[in-house]
């Protein structure tokens, strides 16, 4: 087990270096001098520019810049935004909001996937199964933003059950609607995985043996069928957690949620390179960590992997 964790951690190193290098390279290879851009329409004093360049290590060769940047990242210094705020503070403000949104979406997604998938699998070919497959197809083929506008229009405006946009109030209740919409657009994959493995598990030999022991369906369905089918669903959900953290930009835009995605979007529009790089670096790091956790989770769920 220890060996397994160490190997996964070692594999994460080249992934992290590769992605940060690519991001850094792409952003700084773009035309234009960021220091000059900082002055807007004004013509800066060359001495001032040189001083700033030295301050931001811009006078160094590219590769040195990258290494110095990495050093800063590892010492917890992510730089400042153009408005002079620490990127650290900005992250501390926006990150919890996104985390809350994604957590809620993922929990809902997991719930839909498991419950609907389990019932569908147990009633393969019956009415519930067919209905859920059709419903899944509708949710899956609807573009995310269309679903969101529909939700805003009906739930928010027409029926008034939830606030139309989130804004400053980032409570659980206020963000329930966007989380629900995200969950509905992504639960399909998990539901299909669950349904498929429930159908498979039902005809496994160990399920028949469990019946032969004298157990009833009330015990066999949760303990032997659902438990075994959860393995792919849990890992799928965990993986979508990683993807969502970095992928809620559209949702945050439409519902005006002050989270990571929204801030990142604004930074890209304004050309705040250092903010963009820092945010993406943190997201990459997070993604890598989540993926390692997914692999470890797999080992927790499946003892055959645990004891390799």
């Amino acid at each position: 087990m220890l060996r397994y964790i160490l190997r996964r951690l070692l594999q994460a190193v080249p992934v992290f270096l590769g992605t940060t290098f690519l991001i850094y390279f792409m952003v700084f290879a773009m035309p234009g001098n960021p220091i000059v851009a900082l002055f807007g329409d004004k013509t800066p004093n060359p001495a001032q520019v040189a001083a700033l360049e030295a301050q931001y290590n811009l006078d160094q060769p590219f590769f040195m810049q990258y290494l110095l940047y990495l050093k800063n990242v590892f010492t917890g210094d992510l730089g400042t935004t153009f408005s002079g705020r620490d990127v650290n503070t900005v992250l501390a403000d926006t990150f919890p909001v996104t985390l809350k949104l994604v957590l809620m979406a993922v929990v809902l997604e997991f719930f839909f996937a498991v419950v609907i998938g389990l019932i569908s699998g147990l009633r393969e070919g019956k009415f519930f199964d067919n209905a859920s497959v059709v419903l899944a197809l509708i949710f899956n083929s609807l573009p995310v933003f269309v679903g969101m506008f529909l939700a805003q229009y009906f739930v928010g405006i027409k029926w008034g059950w939830a606030p139309v946009t989130v804004g400053r109030d980032t409570s659980w209740g206020a963000m329930f609607l966007p989380a629900l919409v995200i969950a509905l657009t992504i639960y399909v994959t998990g539901m299909r995985l669950m349904r498929g493995s429930v159908i498979e598990s039902r005809s496994e030999d160990y399920v028949r043996t469990a019946y032969a022991k004298g157990l009833t369906s009330r015990r066999i369905i949760p303990v032997h069928i659902a438990r075994n089918s959860l393995i792919p669903v849990v890992t799928n959900t965990a993986a979508s957690f990683g993807a969502l953290i970095a992928g809620t930009t559209i949702t945050e835009g439409i519902f005006n949620i002050p989270g990571v995605g929204n801030t990142l979007y604004q930074a890209i529009i304004r050309g705040e390179n250092s903010t963009v790089v820092s945010f993406v670096t943190v997201l990459t790091l997070l993604y890598v960590i989540v993926n390692i956790l997914v692999d470890l989770l797999y080992a927790v769920l499946d003892p055959r992997i645990r004891y390799v």
Binding site: S203, K213, G214, L215, H224
Partner: protein
């Protein structure tokens, strides 16, 4: 060996019941399929008395497993009981709800399934799965009692260190150990009837014997009736006092084991007995005069004759050496948790020669290294040291190109006819593939060769357009043989090539192999754990134990005058070795 006659006497001791324990009357079972309803059981009737051991024998598809699962209503979801009645312990089973059925299963009828690998849930510990059975059958109530009863159950089933192994998972147990766990679960609640569905067919002969002996002891002590389901006539006769022979969903013959074996009435029973390889059998020789072995199988009488025909001596000792193995060794490094590894010598300095046109059988239990040896000879696994010389070429340090060419002269046939054929390709494409790989570019030449090969393995030409899933196990194994012969090899390595087949089909494939050997002068390296098969196919035998060859000799020498106790143990473990067969 148990004496079958005394077993009948002891098993027929009168129980406390006045009627039969199990009474099946006119049972009809059918399966819904895409092509409509297929009838699997057609009017099956039999009785079992308390404490009696009965075996249902038949080939796959005969309905023997369907009968067993129908008794406790565990038919596959597309199966249903159409008519008839099943009474167990005075209670009618047909029409009971699943919940009512749950009170019968485990408590009154225990069940031991066939495959120990797939019948324990891989995600729960072994202890959990035994405790579950103990709790469900109301054998104990507090957590502590349940645990101690579960340990007791496992100890009774022959797991001496049960308390230590409760927390381990099924994959940490060997096949034999898992089967003990399943037997423990089946007997946990002291049922009146135990259904054992091919309980040991996935295990080695020696393990099989220990486990069946133990099962015998447990069921005898508790006066448990046992219903054995098996395709192995020898095993059935040795373990059961009464035999029921099934064929195509019907019982064709039933009666006391000894009587039935010595004096079979039905032609199907006769053909089963004739096809069962046993110690009394002789080496099968190719029937060069009439090599058209029929796939349909009505010509069993002719086959049976071949079995018992004393074959003329073949002068194999003068033929050139086809395969020579010298001091072949394979060492694997096994991970021992953390970063430690430990060397494991799978094959330890083995040496042997196989002469052209003859068959060498490499026998041993699983883990003896026989399959690793075969893989090295086929060039699928690099040896750690030693030499393999095939047709005069040493495989050691051979170039990739030379190895490629050598492969065409040496072809394998594997055990599982279901897994070794690509389900997405037609039979014709499967057989033609080695031809294309080895540069036969002309399509019409390939087609002609496929036709010729199908004819050689006695399959109709039309089969070339069909797909593996449309074929029976025996037909598939014929296809695998045809593919192996496509490149006109000199050597064919048969790794447990008939172990997965029913006796009748097995006999046909063995006859086919013998015919082809005669006709094409093939050299066979036959890897198997089944000594009864060795008797009928091999000229020479090499017995492997723990990676070493412990004994070699001609087949007759080994079977009549085995020198090593290990070989003797393997021979004794062959089911039915102590039984007198009808001839």
């Amino acid at each position: 060996m148990n004496d079958a006659t005394t077993e009948v006497m002891s098993k027929q001791a009168p129980g406390q019941h006045d009627g039969p324990l199990v009474s099946v009357k006119d049972l009809e079972v059918s399966f819904r399929t895409l092509g409509g309803s297929v009838s699997a059981l057609r009017g099956v009737s039999f009785d079992m008395w308390p404490g009696e051991t009965v075996a249902i024998v038949g080939e796959s598809g005969s309905g023997k497993s369907t009968t067993a699962t129908a008794l406790i209503n565990l038919l596959p979801s597309n199966g249903m009981i159409g008519a008839g009645s099943i009474t167990i312990d005075g209670r009618e089973m047909v029409g009971l709800s699943q919940d009512q059925m749950a009170s019968v299963r485990g408590k009154i009828v225990g069940y031991v399934p066939q495959d120990p690998m797939s019948n324990l849930n891989p995600v729960w510990s072994v202890g959990f799965q035994v405790e579950e059975a103990v709790r469900a059958n109301g054998l104990a109530h507090t957590r502590k009692e349940i645990k101690s009863r579960a340990i007791e159950v496992l100890k009774e089933a022959g797991l001496a260190d049960a308390d230590r192994r409760m927390k381990q998972f099924p994959h940490q147990f060997s096949g034999g150990m898992r089967q003990r766990v399943l037997i423990g679960i089946g007997l946990a609640a002291d049922p009146k009837l135990l259904i054992a569905d091919e309980p040991t067919s996935a295990l080695d002969v020696t393990v099989q014997k220990t486990i069946l002996d133990h099962l015998d002891k447990l069921t005898r002590e508790n006066h448990t009736a046992v219903l054995f389901i098996t395709h192995d006539l020898g095993l059935a006769a040795e373990r059961a006092s009464k035999l029921i022979v099934m064929h195509r969903g019907k019982i064709v013959e039933a009666g006391p084991s000894v009587e039935l074996l010595e004096n079979p009435q039905h032609p199907y029973t006769k053909s089963l007995i004739a096809a069962a390889p046993s110690l009394a059998s002789r080496r099968i020789r190719g029937a060069s005069a009439s090599s058209d072995t029929d796939a349909g199988g009505p010509d069993m009488a002719r086959l049976a004759v071949h079995h018992h025909e004393a074959a003329e001596e073949h002068h194999i000792s003068e033929a050139p050496v086809s395969i020579e193995v010298k001091d072949l060794t394979k060492v694997f490094s096994i991970r021992k948790g953390g970063f430690r590894t430990e060397p494991l010598t799978a094959v330890d300095k083995i040496s042997f020669k196989v002469r052209k046109g003859s068959t060498l059988a490499l026998v041993g239990e699983s883990g003896s290294g026989k399959t690793t040896a075969a893989k090295m000879i086929l060039g699928l696994e690099p040896p750690t040291s030693g030499d393999i010389i095939v047709g005069g070429t040493n495989l050691n340090g051979i170039s990739r190109k030379a190895m490629f060419n050598l492969r065409s002269r040496m072809q394998p046939v594997f055990q599982d006819p279901y897994a070794s054929l690509d389900p997405q390709r037609s039979i014709g494409a499967i057989i033609a593939e080695p031809l294309r790989v080895h540069g036969v570019s002309d399509r019409s030449v390939r087609l002609a060769r496929v036709k010729e090969l199908l004819d050689q393995v006695s399959l109709p030409e039309s089969i070339a357009q069909r797909y593996p899933n449309e074929l029976s196990g025996g037909q598939r194994q014929r296809v695998a043989v045809a593919r192996a012969l496509a490149l006109k090899p000199e050597v064919v390595v048969l790794d447990e090539a008939v172990s997965a087949l029913d006796v009748l089909v097995q006999a046909q494939v063995l006859q086919l192999l013998a015919d082809l050997q005669e006709e094409l002068g093939l050299t066979y390296l036959f890897i198997t754990h089944d000594l009864a098969v060795v008797r009928v196919v091999a000229d020479e035998v090499a017995v492997m134990e723990d990676g070493k060859i412990v004994e070699t000799g001609t087949t007759d020498e080994i079977f009549e005058r085995a020198r090593k106790p290990y070989t003797q143990r393997l021979l004794d473990a062959i089911p039915g070795s102590g039984i007198k067969w009808a001839s």
